[in-house]
Symmetry: none
DNA sequence: CATGAATGAGTGTTCATTCAT
DNA sequence: AATGAATGAACACTCATTCAT
């Protein structure tokens, strides 16, 4: 879980305190990816040109190609690092908690924070799957499914333990996860809700969705 | 509410039974729009070329332009008709029910059915907002907000009546509506769940999300 | 010289009074040609579309094709009728005068009036030669040369008679004719000069250009 | 008057002898403009395609766009450089002479030489005004008027000095200038007249047109 | 490392023209 | 006589990408 990630993202110094999944400093993406991300978020992959990315990252067009071999490679880098980052954080959040309710709360909180703090990354990871080539798409979907299974596993455990009462746990998971990922569609950092306020409110709703009667954390 | 829609979509013969919002016959879109819809759903607006649309609608490129003046106009037609259709169905569903719980159930069911039965239309309406020009975008967002307000109004009524216990009704509405619209991202008609099964399960989850203790429909 | 013209233009009833070349009633062009003429004058042949011509002549596109088989045929009709009209008027003007000075004055006056009264026709005839196909171009140039020779013949007669003193009669003719045809570039009917005022002033200049010492019609 | 011209045209090294306005070396236009010029002269602006220009300048279509952002920008560059070149030469010619007769002779000679030596440039500057957009057209017309006023000013001086006897100086100027600019319509370098022969003959005619009795240059 | 110049393939769009009705 | 629907070819222009320097 604390493996150093080759992609350059993730937790670079895991303290004992397993709360690193809360920390969102400056994004550690390559400047080209930073620029590309802004462009993709605004205009989509196909609506973005290499010249836009070059301008956004203050490089020449050829300069962009010096760092990444193709526009598609840039998309792959952006998406895979996003998924990897989310996975590192999710497993860290999961490991830091015990019992289905707290694990669920942590993982969903992590998911929500990621979708507010890394909104563009999450948005692209959600909406540009179709722009990936077959190989990259398969890899991406595997990561997405891994993420989904983590939630499902927790909920199924909760149902087995009798703390969740979801009639259809997998559907509840789908509902919960999609309502969280949808946050990247509408959340604005300068809006009415802070990231943590949103997380609290949505966690309560998510717990209700999986039929949790108990109150969180004690 | 039963006004015949000038866009050519929607229920053209409203029977007394206010269940017309359940009926999804063959989509009544112009062949060009049908073809464009398939393309947009697969590749996105910017990833779709006029030549694809022409091929998909069995016309020449110039033939497409005989019916619609630009690619953007095609997108506008697709999206506005989708929003109009959904609105007609939603208001019909709302009108057919009484009391917050049943109104909520009907409107959410309607939303879910629309997102399974008109999955591509709904998907485009959700994901291609950024591809609209300023004017069309404003019009689209107005329609989207109108839709959102309908749900909020019902939930607020439910809270006022004491049948819903949502701590934050507007956030609950957001969560509910986005988990419903997200259905267009993953639902497959040939998958495990039928449209009505999905609607039933998701309605239960949605009711839980707004803090409804009572059971639906008696 | 007074042959009835198959094109449908020209003097349709030659009275004894040989002044018909002065008369500019409503242009007798086919409505399609009238519309095309306005378009060609504004945007040039290649800058004009069949749809513009259709709109300008209050017909459908197919309606235009009912009257003329192609855009090119319209140009040919416009240009050939203009050249024919000018030739009819020029020979009439020539025939009505006697002696080089008066013949010159009449023919140049005729040329000037044509370029103010039939400005667009003259302008197209001057500027769209390159847009004609080989055959039509050859025919057009023959008519243009015929026109030029008429002036040259008169001036050469004048030089032979000793009333003109042009050192290089053909060059003087070129200068005179081009300064007259150029009138179609700048003349505006609502400008400072009336058609006849312009003709008078330019005739004086033209006579000077061919070295005429005597005063006209004295 | 000997300001170095930012357009890259014009006299780059003004010797004392103010005869630089006679020198027509290889045109210093950008290869793309050279190619475009040939095309425009043959087929007109609207009759010319970017592919023609690309072929004529030995570049790919995209290569043309690397140097100029649009077909229209190419036209603007061609026309504005032509007008600037003519203006530099005209003012040089004017400054090199004294007295209305010699100034007139020099400026008209300059005008004629330009229209034989830079025939295509001059032709385009004369015939494609309507193809310019509003802004470029205004700029062009301002330059054209400036050119016209130079001639008018000289002639008016000549009339004031009593060396010219034009009854209507401005009309005479129009006649003279248009007969000079028309040279670009018909002159062929391999024709009967050399550029200087033509200039001599036309100058004599132009002097007659403005009512000059004295003989030029001594 | 970085870039200005270049390009083949493709973009959305328009063209003159046809034809069934 | 007149037209709405249709089209192949071409239009101006842009794309992702390459490469000599």
């Amino acid at each position: 879980m604390s493996d150093s990630v080759s992609t350059g993202v993730g937790t670079d110094a895991d303290a004992d305190a397993a709360d690193t999944w809360h920390d969102y400093g400056r994004s550690r993406l390559h400047p080209v990816l930073e620029g590309a991300l802004r462009c993709f978020a605004l205009h989509g992959y196909h609506g973005t040109t290499i010249r836009m990315i070059a301008a956004e990252s203050s490089l020449s067009v050829a300069g962009v190609y010096h760092h990444y071999p193709s526009k598609h490679a840039i998309l792959v880098a952006v998406m895979s690092q996003a998924m990897e980052d989310l996975w590192q954080r999710s497993t860290a959040a999961d490991a830091a908690a015990e019992g289905p309710v707290d694990r669920f709360t942590d993982v969903i909180t992590c998911l929500l924070e990621f979708h507010t703090q890394r909104r563009d990354d999450a948005f692209i990871a959600l909406t540009e799957i179709r722009s990936l080539d077959a190989e990259a798409r398969a890899a991406h979907i595997a990561k997405r499914d891994r993420q989904q299974r983590l939630v499902e596993e927790i909920v199924e455990q909760g149902v087995a333990d009798g703390v969740f009462e979801a009639a259809h746990p997998r559907d509840a998971c789908r509902a919960v996860v999609t309502m969280c990922t949808s946050v990247s569609h509408w959340y604005r950092p300068d809006g009415a809700l802070s990231s943590s306020e949103l997380a609290q409110r949505y966690c309560a709703i998510a717990l209700a969705a999986v039929g949790c009667r108990t109150v969180t954390r004690g």
